[in-house]
Amino acid sequence: MTSPQDFAEPLLRVEHLSMRFGGLVAINDVSFSAQDCAITAIIGPNGAGKTTLFNCLTGFYTPSVGRLTVSHSGHRWLLERMEAHRIAGTARVARTFQNIRLFGGMSVLENLIVAQHTKLMRASGFTLAGLLGLPVYRQAERAAVERARYWLDRVGLVEMADRQAGTLPYGAQRRLEIARAMCSEPRLLCLDEPAAGLNPRESADLSVLLTFIRDHHRIGVLLIEHDMSVVMAISDHLVVLDYGRKISDGPPAVVRHDPAVIRAYLGEDESESEDDANGEDRNRREGQGSC
């Protein structure tokens, strides 16, 4: 599984990924790679297959065709063959959701400790040591609480640690979800529209948080986002999808002038898209406008 030349491998390599649902092709032969210590943004109009890509990466779907390789610490994992909990626990890929999926009935702190389950379970000798309160487990639990505190501090939720996660305001829930993902100590963090529903100030804070994660925790971030102000400000690499295909790939400065991207966002013919003034088209235009 391990050989020296693997160290040159990118953190994530997606090769010829296709995902079909019956007759619908959600992703069609997409290949790209994401580097370690870098933010790779995946953008594209609604329905381009971005979330489907995340679902393939995190074991929700088994891809119809393709290979998804994660390489770090001298090991290589083929995600398409792994169960969801091993993708998270062994290959260390974490994700957040477009519609937040916190454990609403648990406290904020517990949400962050659950994320450290794999480690704690091992430390507790599969529950026995934990039940008896042996020092091994106590120590592991202290470390887990410490890590949770660190991330609560980072996302500014320390004073809410004991509240039920479901009762937090929307923006706080978004940040908590990122904190929870980070508590599982991922090497690849997949964020599905983390700025959705945030006000401009919260979006700016998010950009700061994400660059902090990249620079100080030195992990790879995969980011789906419609908010171009966030995308253009922080991403090192852009991948553009449209109707399940990759239409552009490269640094932001190059991608934003790519005619294929402009066409996808504004439509083939300017006047045609003007007639069709539905919400989604307006969104696309706004996205383009702000970058």
Partner: protein, 305 residues
């Protein structure tokens, strides 16, 4: 008054046994949202294993009662745990993700299978167990009054139940397994994305419930002194009633429900009629389902349908 006190003691003892079985129902329901219909049979198997292990322990020459009881408890919990794991592996896991009715039916099948398997292997006749603990503490014995007594066995049952309750509440509240169980309860898919092995967590839930049912089996064997292959059915439904009464999915609710069912049964038998004690229990089930489907301690669940 004395008569009342005696019935109270009997009812609490019975309630403790129902409560232990009810915890198994409630825990499994909590995590997968389905009733484990084979749970009553696990309890029945526990009772049989208790008889067998008492014989085995006796053959080995261990006559000191506390040691014998501890050994029997450990053996029974081990065996019923294996049965619980097997039920989940065969009747639930292969059907996870299929229609909700499918695992329900396979569990009923499992229950029928276990009943008949025990009947075939152990025979249909009632198996007796000579009394293991016969010490009795007399609380009140006035001339002309009713003799109120509590047996050492009743005290053991209560103490053991309380200890197990505390232990299991600790597991759920404090250990990482308990956190994983609560996480799976809320969002299985998300739990797996955080590295929690959902299959294993569910298996362990079945195992924990089965071990408790095993303890209940040991207790009932020692308490009544007889077992047969059919006791699991009625006890299972009563424990299920207890879980529903307390609010299914809630651990303290299961215990409270068990206690109430035990008391209702004892008092009904004492003051009205022994023949109709089961009717009383099931009337409760019907009433709770009609007027308070979430039970006494259950919260109305808006998300799960």
């Amino acid at each position: 008054m004395d008569y009342f006190l005696q019935q109270l003691i009997n009812g609490v003892t019975l309630g403790a046994i129902y409560g232990l079985v009810a915890i198994g129902y409630t825990m499994v329901y909590g995590i997968i949202g389905m009733i484990n219909f084979a749970h009553g049979e696990i309890y029945m198997i526990g009772a049989f294993i208790a008889v067998i292990s008492f014989l085995a322990v006796g053959l080995l020459g261990i006559t000191w009662v506390p040691l014998a009881v501890v050994l029997v408890l450990i053996l029974t919990m081990l065996f019923t745990a294996v049965y619980g794991w097997t039920v989940e592996r065969l009747a639930y896991r292969p059907l996870r993700g299929s229609v909700r009715l499918a695992p329900l039916i396979s569990a009923i099948g499992m229950s029928i299978f276990l009943q008949n398997y025990v009947q075939l292997v152990q025979g249909a006749r009632v198996k007796p167990l000579p009394p293991v603990m016969s010490d009795v503490i007399v609380l009140a014995d006035q001339a002309g009054g009713f003799r109120v007594s509590v047996s050492a066995l009743q005290l053991l049952i209560l103490a053991l139940t309380v200890a197990l309750m505390i232990g299991f509440t600790q597991v759920i509240a404090r250990t990482s397994l308990g956190r994983a169980q609560r996480a799976c309860e809320q969002d299985m898919k998300m739990a797996s994305l955080l590295g929690i092995d959902v299959d294993r967590t569910i298996s362990l839930t079945f195992v924990m419930g089965a071990a408790l049912a095993g303890v209940a089996g040991v207790m009932v064997t020692m308490y009544y002194g007889v077992v047969d292959f059919y006791i699991g059915f009625l006890a299972g439904i009563k424990a299920f009633t207890a879980a529903v009464l307390g609010g299914i999915g809630s651990l303290p609710g299961a215990m409270l429900g068990g206690l109430l069912i035990g008391l209702i049964e004892a008092f009904w038998s004492a003051y009205f009629s022994v023949e109709y004690k089961d009717v009383a229990t099931f009337v409760i089930l019907v009433l709770v389902l009609i007027f308070r489907p979430t039970g006494l301690l259950g919260r109305p669940d808006l998300e799960k349908v």
